[in-house]
C-alpha cells in the first residue's frame, strides 16, 4: 500500500488546537492529515491537569455546541467536576474539570484514529512550500514532501523551543521532547514575522510522599454536569479531590535564598510570560510583602502517582525547587518526580492573521493555539476548531465563519487575538467579554447550535434534539410574558405566605418572576399552570429564570450589542482608493490601509476613529442605502 502524498488539509501539531482542527476538517469531509512529532503525546496536557474555569469553561461548552471534541472528551475522562462562582451570579458561573491526563490523551487519540477522512502520521515539518503567497505543501525532516490545499499550523510551544532551568538551558520541548527546528525560519522566509514568548510549569511530586491528611481537601460537585449539552445533567458520583496548602515565611525565605538563580533575575529568558500565571519567583518580585500564596495540590489522573503543584511554577534550578517545595506545609518530604521549568518559544508577531485564523500574508495558511500568542488548552482548542472550519469553508468557496464577540466567547477570543499586540500570552476570562450576561454558560447551545448545524459539525439528529430543548425554554418564556395573574385573594394569600410581596394589580408571569425570592415553580402554581406543559428539567428552569430575572440588564446589554454587531458587519479592507475616503483622517486611513483589522468594530475599539468620523465612514459605505432611506 502506498502512502498518500496529497491532502486537502494538513494540520501540523497534535495538541489541543491540532486535534480540533484535524477533526473539524475531516468531519466536514476533507481528506486530512495530522502530522505530529510524536503520536504518543497527542493531546498532551504538559502543564495543569484541568480544563475549564471562568471564560475557559464557557469556551469549552461553546466548542461542544459547535461540534468540537474537547467538551465530550473531558466529560468522559475527568476525575473531578466543579462549579465555580456559584454565588456570584449567572454571568460568571462556570465549570472546571480536573482531567485524567492519560485517559484524556488516549480518548482523543482513539477519536482521531477512528475518524473517517483523517490520517495521522509522525514526523517533523521543517518547511512550508508556498508559491505566489499561497500555500502548496510541507517538507518533512525526512525529506518527504506532502502537498495540500490548506495548511493549519498548531505548533504550541515547540517552535525553536528552549527549556530554561536556572542557569542551564537547552533546545527542547515539554516532556523531554525535541524542539521543532526549521519551521520558524521557513515561515520567516515566506514573509511571516515571529517573536519569542515564554511560559513555565511547576514541579510534579510523588503522591505517596505528600501528607495530604493535613491539607484542606477540595472535593468536586456531584451535580456540576458536563460541558457537552448531552452531559449537562450528568452526575459525577465518583470523583477525587484536590488539596490546598499555602506558602509561609519559610517558603518566602527559600525563594529569596535562591532568587539569584531565577531566570527572571539572570535575565536569560524573555520577559514575556503570562501575567495570569506568574512563577513563584515573579510573584515574590512583584508582591514582596505577600507571604501566604496558595498552592493547589492536584491529581493528574485516577491512578497517577504524580501530583501537580499549582502555584509553584518556576524555572529556578533543581536545588532551589527542592528547597521551596519542602518549605510548604504537607510537602516537607515531597519527592520531586519532574522538575518545573520555563520554556521559551516562537510565536507569530501580532497582527498577522484574521479572525478566521487565516494568515494575512499567505493564502491558505491558518494558525491556531500558542503560535497565535495564547496560553491554555481551551483557547487552543477553540482556535483550532475555528481554523478547521474556515479552512474547509474556503476550500468549498463558501463565506468564512466569523464568530461575533457579541454571540460567543469564541468570538471574543478570535476578535481579541487578531488585534492582540501585547507581549504576553493571552488567556480568556469573563473580563474580556463585554456582553457576558448574554454569553452565559447555560446559553451556549442556544447561541451556537444553529451555527454548528449550518457548518455541518452538528448532525441533524443532535440539532433537532437541542432545537426542541431551546424551543421549550423560549416558548415557556413567551408564555410567562403573556399570562397574567389577577390580584385575587387566593393569589395574594399565597404571595403573602411566601414573602414575595403583595399583588395590587394584574401582573404577567414574567413580572412576578422578576420579584426577589420568586421562583418559576411558585409562578406556575400562582398561574395554575402547574399541570400542563411546564418545564421540569432543572437546567431549563434555570435558563428561564435567568433570562427573565435579569431582563433589565440583558436589555441594556442588547442595546450595546446591536451597535457592536452592526460595526462587526462592516468588513475591511474596502474601497479605500475611493476619493471620498479622503474625508477620513489620515491616521485612521493609514491604519485601515495596513489591513491589520478585519472590521470596523475593531478599529473603533482600538480608538482609531472618532464618533463623527465613524458616522461619515458608515455613510460612505452605506451611501446607496442611506439615500434610499432619506428619499
Amino acid at each position: 500500500m502506498t502512502q498518500k502524498r496529497h491532502y486537502s488539509v494538513i494540520v501540523i501539531g497534535g495538541g489541543h488546537a491540532g486535534c480540533e482542527a484535524a477533526l473539524a476538517s475531516a468531519r466536514l469531509g476533507a481528506d486530512t492529515l495530522l502530522v505530529t512529532m510524536n503520536i504518543t503525546t497527542i493531546a498532551l496536557m504538559p502543564c495543569n491537569p484541568s480544563i475549564g474555569g471562568p471564560g475557559k469553561g464557557h469556551l469549552v461548552r461553546e466548542i461542544g455546541a459547535l461540534g468540537g471534541e474537547m467538551a465530550s472528551c473531558i466529560d468522559e475522562t475527568c476525575v473531578q467536576m466543579k462549579w465555580l462562582n456559584t454565588s456570584k451570579g449567572p454571568a460568571v458561573r462556570s465549570r472546571r474539570a480536573q482531567a485524567d491526563k492519560y485517559l484524556y490523551r488516549q480518548r482523543m487519540i482513539n477519536t482521531l484514529f477512528e475518524q473517517e477522512n483523517l490520517d495521522v502520521r509522525q514526523g517533523q515539518v521543517t518547511e512550508i512550500i508556498c508559491s505566489d503567497n499561497k500555500i502548496q505543501g510541507i517538507k518533512l525532516e525526512t525529506g518527504l514532501t506532502l502537498l495540500c490545499e490548506r495548511l493549519i499550523i498548531t505548533s504550541g510551544t515547540y517552535l525553536n523551543a528552549r527549556i530554561i532551568l536556572g542557569r542551564e538551558s537547552w533546545d527542547g520541548a515539554p516532556q523531554n521532547q525535541k524542539a521543532a527546528i526549521g519551521l520558524s525560519a521557513s515561515l520567516e522566509e515566506n514573509g511571516i514575522r515571529m517573536r519569542r514568548l515564554q511560559t513555565a510549569t511547576p514541579p510534579r511530586v510523588l503522591k505517596s510522599s505528600v501528607d495530604l491528611s493535613i491539607l484542606q481537601e477540595l472535593p468536586g460537585d456531584i451535580d456540576a454536569g458536563g460541558f457537552t449539552w448531552e452531559d449537562r445533567l450528568r452526575r459525577y458520583e465518583k470523583q477525587i479531590s484536590c488539596f490546598l496548602t499555602f506558602t509561609d515565611e519559610r517558603s518566602i525565605a527559600a525563594v529569596k535564598r535562591h532568587m539569584s538563580e531565577s531566570p527572571l533575575v539572570l535575565a536569560n529568558i524573555t520577559n514575556e510570560g503570562p501575567k495570569h500565571c506568574p512563577s513563584i519567583d515573579r510573584k515574590l518580585l512583584k508582591f514582596p510583602d505577600m507571604v501566604r500564596h496558595q498552592i493547589f495540590v492536584e491529581p493528574e489522573g485516577w491512578k497517577s502517582q504524580e501530583l501537580y503543584l499549582q502555584g509553584l511554577t518556576t524555572g529556578m534550578p533543581p536545588v532551589a525547587q527542592e528547597d521551596i517545595v519542602s518549605s510548604v506545609v504537607g510537602l516537607e518530604n515531597a519527592v520531586i518526580l519532574r522538575y518545573g521549568y520555563a520554556i521559551e518559544y516562537d510565536a507569530l508577531a501580532p497582527g498577522q492573521f484574521h479572525k478566521t485564523m487565516e494568515s494575512r500574508i499567505i493564502k491558505g495558511l491558518y494558525t491556531a493555539g500558542q503560535i497565535n500568542g495564547t496560553s491554555g488548552y481551551e483557547e487552543a482548542a477553540g482556535q483550532g476548531l475555528i481554523a478547521g472550519i474556515n479552512a474547509i469553508l474556503s476550500l468549498r468557496g463558501e463565506a468564512p465563519y466569523w464568530p461575533s464577540r457579541t454571540r460567543s466567547y469564541l468570538g471574543v477570543l478570535v476578535d481579541d487575538l487578531s488585534t492582540w499586540s501585547r507581549n504576553e500570552p493571552y488567556r480568556i476570562t469573563p473580563g474580556h467579554a463585554e456582553y457576558r450576561l448574554t454569553l452565559r454558560d447555560d446559553s451556549a447551545e442556544r447561541r451556537l447550535i444553529e451555527d454548528g448545524y449550518r457548518i455541518g459539525l452538528v448532525s441533524k439528529e443532535r440539532y433537532e434534539k437541542i432545537f426542541d430543548w431551546k424551543k421549550r425554554i423560549e416558548d415557556e418564556i413567551e408564555a410567562l410574558d403573556s399570562l397574567s395573574l389577577l390580584p385575587n385573594s387566593e393569589a395574594r394569600e399565597i404571595m403573602a405566605n411566601t414573602g414575595t410581596g403583595d399583588l395590587k394589580k394584574p401582573a404577567s408571569g414574567s413580572e412576578l418572576l422578576q420579584r426577589p425570592g420568586m421562583t418559576y415553580k411558585l409562578v406556575t402554581e400562582l398561574l395554575h399552570k402547574a399541570k400542563d406543559s411546564c418545564l421540569t428539567a432543572s437546567d431549563e428552569i434555570y435558563a428561564l429564570e435567568t433570562e427573565i430575572k435579569y431582563r433589565g440588564y440583558a436589555d441594556r446589554e442588547l442595546e450595546r450589542i446591536k451597535q457592536t454587531a452592526f460595526l462587526e458587519g462592516i468588513r475591511l479592507p474596502m474601497e479605500i482608493n475611493d476619493e471620498r475616503m479622503r474625508i477620513i483622517n489620515l491616521e485612521a486611513l493609514e491604519i485601515m490601509k495596513s489591513e491589520r483589522y478585519d472590521d470596523l468594530s475593531q478599529m473603533v475599539r482600538m480608538n482609531h476613529f472618532s464618533k463623527s468620523e465613524l458616522a461619515v465612514l458608515l455613510a460612505i459605505l452605506n451611501g446607496e442605502e442611506l439615500e434610499e432611506e432619506q428619499a
Partner: protein, 458 residues
C-alpha cells in the same frame, strides 16, 4: 445588515462668548421633529417651509420654561448647507442662553456636533467638492485623538477633577469586584457588600450634589430671577412691559389685575434674566387673590433680586408700608423704584428717605436707563460670579451623568439582592458614563488593573 441611521447634530456655529447674536445650527433627519417640540412660533404659517424665518421662543417642553426668544431659519433637505434638514437658531448672544438652548436641543434628541461635522456632512451629501474641503484641512485632518478630545473635552478645572476622582473611586471598587469574579480561586478577598453600599451611598450623594450644581448651573443659565413687587396698581406690570418692550402683563387701573405671577425672560446687559411680575401685596379679598399673594411670597423667596415698586403719585398707604418692611427684611439685592414720575409727586419724601430710590415713569420710559444700569450692576457683581464653569457642565454631558447616576442607584439599591456580576455591570456602566462626562476616552482595562493589584496565579 442593518441600515445606518444618521443622527441629528447641533452646535453653536458662531464664536463662543458674548456677542449681539449667537447662531446655533441643527442638522439631520430629526431637525424639525425636535424643533416642533421645543420651538413655539405664533404665526399662522406652516412650520417648516423651505428657506423661511420664524420668530418665536425656545421652550423646555417639560417645564414650559422659555429659554430665549429666537429667530429660526429653516432649510429643507437637500437645499441646505449640509444637504440635510437644517435649522439655524439665532439667539441672544450670551453663553448662558446658548448653553440653555443647546441643552434643550440635546434633551430632545439632538447630539453635540463634533468639530467639522457640519462640513463633513455637507461633503458627504455632495454639497462641497474636495477642494473646498481641502481648504478646511486643518479641521478635518486633525489626528483622531485630538479630535476626540476636542469633541468630548468640554470640561476643565475643578468639576472635571471631581468627576475624575469619583470615577477613580468607582474603578477601584470595580477592579476588586472583577478580580473575584474573574479569578474565583485566587483567594481574593470577596468584596464587602456592606462597605461597598456605604461607599456607593457616599459617592452617590457627592455625585448628586454635583448633578444639583450642574442643575443650578442650568438654573442660572435659565435666567437670574428678578421679582417685581409692590402694592396693587403701583405699576409693576407697566414696568415689566416696558422692560420686555411689549405688552405681556395685563395693565388696567383696577388694583389686583395681576392675580398670578407672570414670568418672562429677557436679556439685560447681556445677562439672561427671568422677570417675575407678582400679584400685588395686600390683604386678600378673595381666594384667588390669596393664591396670588402666596405665589408672590414664593417668587420673592426664589428671586435673586427684588424690585420694589411704589406709586409716587399717591400718599403712602398701609400696603406700601408692608411692602417696604418686607423689602427691608430681605437678604438679597433690592431696588426701590418710585414709579409714575410723570404724575404729580404725592408720596411723602420721608417715606423712602435714607434709601437709594430710582424715580421712573414706566409708562413714559423716564428713568428707565438708570434702572437698567443699576440692575445690571447687581446682576454682574452678585449674580454671574463663577458661572462659566457651571454652565459648560450643563449642556451635553447631562445625559451621561444621568446614566451614571441611575446605574449607581441600581447598584446601591441592588446590593444584597442582586448578584455581584450584575453589580459589576452597573459599576462598569457608571465608570463608562462618567468617562463620557469628563471626556476621558481612554478605555479602562480592568484586567490590567487586577494584575497590578492582585497576585493572580491559579
Amino acid at each position: 445588515m442593518s441600515k445606518l441611521k444618521i443622527d441629528t447634530i447641533a452646535a453653536l456655529s458662531t464664536p463662543a462668548g458674548r456677542a449681539a447674536i449667537s447662531m446655533i445650527r441643527v442638522s439631520g433627519p430629526d431637525t424639525f421633529e425636535i424643533l416642533k417640540k421645543v420651538f413655539k412660533t405664533g404665526g399662522k404659517r406652516a412650520f417648516p417651509l423651505h428657506y423661511s424665518a420664524y420668530f418665536g421662543s425656545i421652550i423646555e417642553p417639560e417645564t414650559g420654561y422659555v429659554a430665549d426668544q429666537v429667530i429660526v431659519n429653516t432649510y429643507l433637505s437637500p437645499k441646505s448647507y449640509t444637504g440635510e434638514d437644517l435649522a439655524e437658531i439665532s439667539t441672544h448672544g450670551n453663553p448662558v442662553v446658548v448653553s440653555k438652548v443647546l441643552s434643550i436641543l440635546f434633551k430632545n434628541g439632538a447630539r453635540q456636533a463634533e468639530k467639522g461635522e457640519f462640513t463633513r456632512r455637507a461633503f458627504l451629501n455632495g454639497k462641497m467638492d474636495l477642494l473646498e474641503v481641502e481648504a478646511l484641512s486643518q479641521l478635518l485632518y486633525a489626528s483622531s485623538s485630538t479630535q476626540a478630545r476636542l469633541a468630548l473635552n468640554q470640561l476643565d478645572g475643578l468639576p472635571s477633577k471631581f468627576v475624575a476622582k469619583i470615577r477613580e473611586e468607582l474603578l477601584n471598587q470595580l477592579v476588586q469586584l472583577e478580580a473575584s469574579l474573574n479569578f474565583p480561586e485566587d483567594a481574593i478577598e470577596s468584596i464587602d457588600e456592606n462597605a461597598l453600599k456605604v461607599a456607593l451611598k457616599k459617592i452617590l450623594s457627592e455625585l448628586e450634589l454635583f448633578a444639583d450644581n450642574a442643575r443650578n448651573g442650568s438654573l442660572i443659565s435659565e435666567g437670574l430671577k428678578v421679582a417685581i413687587v409692590g402694592k396693587p396698581n403701583a405699576g409693576k406690570s407697566s414696568l415689566m412691559n416696558y422692560l420686555l418692550g411689549r405688552d405681556r402683563a395685563i395693565v388696567t387701573d383696577i388694583p389686583g389685575t395681576t392675580r398670578d405671577t407672570l414670568e418672562e425672560s429677557l436679556v439685560i446687559g447681556n445677562i439672561p434674566v427671568k422677570l417675575i411680575d407678582t400679584a400685588g401685596m395686600r390683604q386678600a379679598e378673595n381666594s384667588i387673590e390669596a393664591i396670588g399673594i402666596e405665589r408672590t411670597e414664593k417668587a420673592i423667596d426664589s428671586a435673586f433680586a427684588v424690585i420694589g415698586v411704589f406709586d409716587g403719585s399717591k400718599k403712602a398707604e398701609d400696603e406700601d408700608k408692608a411692602v417696604l418692611q418686607r423689602l427691608k427684611s430681605l437678604d438679597k439685592p433690592v431696588l426701590i423704584i418710585q414709579n409714575k414720575s410723570d404724575l404729580p409727586a404725592l408720596l411723602e419724601d420721608e417715606f423712602l428717605s435714607g434709601l437709594k430710590v430710582i424715580k421712573v415713569s414706566a409708562l413714559k420710559g423716564e428713568g428707565m436707563s438708570e434702572l437698567i444700569s443699576a440692575l445690571t450692576e447687581y446682576l454682574k457683581t452678585d449674580g454671574i460670579g463663577s458661572l462659566e464653569e457651571m454652565v459648560l457642565l450643563g449642556a451635553s454631558q447631562t445625559n451621561a451623568l444621568d446614566k451614571a447616576l441611575s446605574a449607581l442607584k441600581r447598584a446601591e439599591e441592588g446590593i444584597g439582592n442582586i448578584y455581584q456580576d450584575m453589580l459589576a455591570i452597573d459599576l462598569e456602566e457608571a465608570v463608562r458614563e462618567l468617562g463620557r462626562v469628563n471626556g476621558e476616552t481612554v478605555d479602562v482595562n480592568t484586567l490590567d488593573m487586577i494584575f497590578e493589584r492582585f497576585c493572580i496565579g491559579k
